[in-house]
């Protein structure tokens, strides 16, 4: 397999969630979410009620992938930060440790300067957490839920 599987255990998930919860408060943001670079939503905080977070995660990852492609063509390492300005809402996107994407959606209750400042601190915390996540995923002695799954379990899933 090209890249190790990402497995989130409760401990690290709680830590990521704590960082995003705090970022919503500190930056006065509407929503904060963390997405794997492959488009899988990892955690979301704030006013997510009417948001299609699954689609947003996939599109944010697509966006980062596309700008990553542009960076490669320009022989830049990466465009780690992006900002999209709308009429009522804005989106700040930050790549963390070249591995996950931190997305902040905010409105005029706050400012880009404050969001940037708070994202910088959250970025440092998340980098440390995801280093641990990846170290655990590479540990060959750790159990995967797939180890317990039988062929029958898989077949049962597809019985009409």
């Amino acid at each position: 397999m090209a890249s190790p599987q990402m497995v989130m255990y409760e401990e690290e998930f709680a830590q990521v969630q704590a960082v995003t919860d705090r970022l919503v408060q500190d930056a006065n943001a509407r929503v904060v979410f963390v997405v794997d670079k492959n488009g899988q939503l990892i955690s979301a905080s704030g006013d997510t009620g009417d948001l299609d977070t699954t689609s947003l995660a996939s599109l944010a990852a697509g966006n980062i992938a596309a700008t990553g492609g542009i960076a490669q063509l320009l022989r830049e390492q990466e465009f780690a930060t992006q900002y999209h300005e709308g009429v009522r809402q804005n989106v700040h996107i930050q790549v963390v440790s070249s591995r996950v994407i931190l997305v902040v959606i905010f409105d005029n209750r706050t400012s880009l300067g404050l969001v940037r400042l708070r994202v910088k601190r959250a970025n440092e915390h998340l980098s440390r957490i995801f280093e641990m996540v990846m170290a655990k995923a590479q540990d060959p002695f750790r159990n995967s839920p797939f180890a317990e799954i039988t062929d029958d379990d898989i077949d049962n899933l597809f019985n009409d």
């Binding site: 090209a2 497995v7 409760e10 699954t54 689609s55 995967s144 839920p145 899933l157």
Partner: protein, 196 residues
């Protein structure tokens, strides 16, 4: 690359539909979307041009049930088939768990099929995958069209490694779910094998 979340007890996997332009990749996803229970699917996203040609990707999240208490979700993606969108195709293959190659059965598209499959092999290799080992199935679409190649011929041209192959008419749904089930099963079996 699958993603396992122990807290929400979810397993997410990524399947990519690949193939030449206008072979019916988006139509496969549209049929799945239209025929799936609303509780089991998210919104289908299509990043397309004004003429409905895929520009970047289509995306459809699909929940297929629970395995040992883990909700199992598949994220289905298509790539843009047109030759000049190669940079986008490479990006979409990142982190893939399973591939469906949709071939256009029409004789005139034989060359386009082969070119697209070569392109799939090259682009997968660039991401560190090997088409001979990644969970992978082939679908011969547009079986309702005139002037189509025989299954034997298509099989010889496009499926020398004898992976599961399916006949389809994506516009009516024939073969669409069979293809999806087959690749989904291969992905889960591979993840199980990797964990053993």
């Amino acid at each position: 690359m699958s993603f396992i979340n122990y807290l929400s007890r979810e397993i997410n996997c990524k399947i990519v539909y690949y193939g030449p332009g206008l072979c019916g990749k988006t139509t496969n996803l549209q049929y799945i979307y239209n025929r799936t229970n609303p509780d089991a699917k998210g919104k289908m996203i299509s990043l397309a041009t004004e003429t409905e040609r895929t520009l970047f990707f289509d995306f459809l999240p699909l929940e297929i049930g629970e395995i040992r208490g883990f909700k199992t979700r598949f994220h289905l993606y298509t790539v843009p088939g047109q030759v000049f969108y190669d940079a986008s195709r490479k990006l979409i293959l990142k982190g893939v768990d399973g591939v469906v190659f949709v071939a256009d059965s029409q004789m005139l598209r034989a060359e386009a099929n082969i070119e697209s499959m070569d392109n799939l092999r090259t682009n997968l290799a660039e991401q560190g995958y090997n088409l001979d080992t990644v969970p992978y199935v082939v679908q011969y679409n547009k079986r309702d069209m005139p002037n189509i190649s025989s299954v034997d011929e298509l099989s010889r041209m496009l499926n020398p490694q004898r992976v599961p192959e399916f006949l389809a008419v994506a516009t009516t749904g024939e073969g669409v779910f069979e293809t999806l089930k087959s690749v989904a099963k291969l992905v889960l079996t591979e993840l199980k094998r990797g964990a053993a």
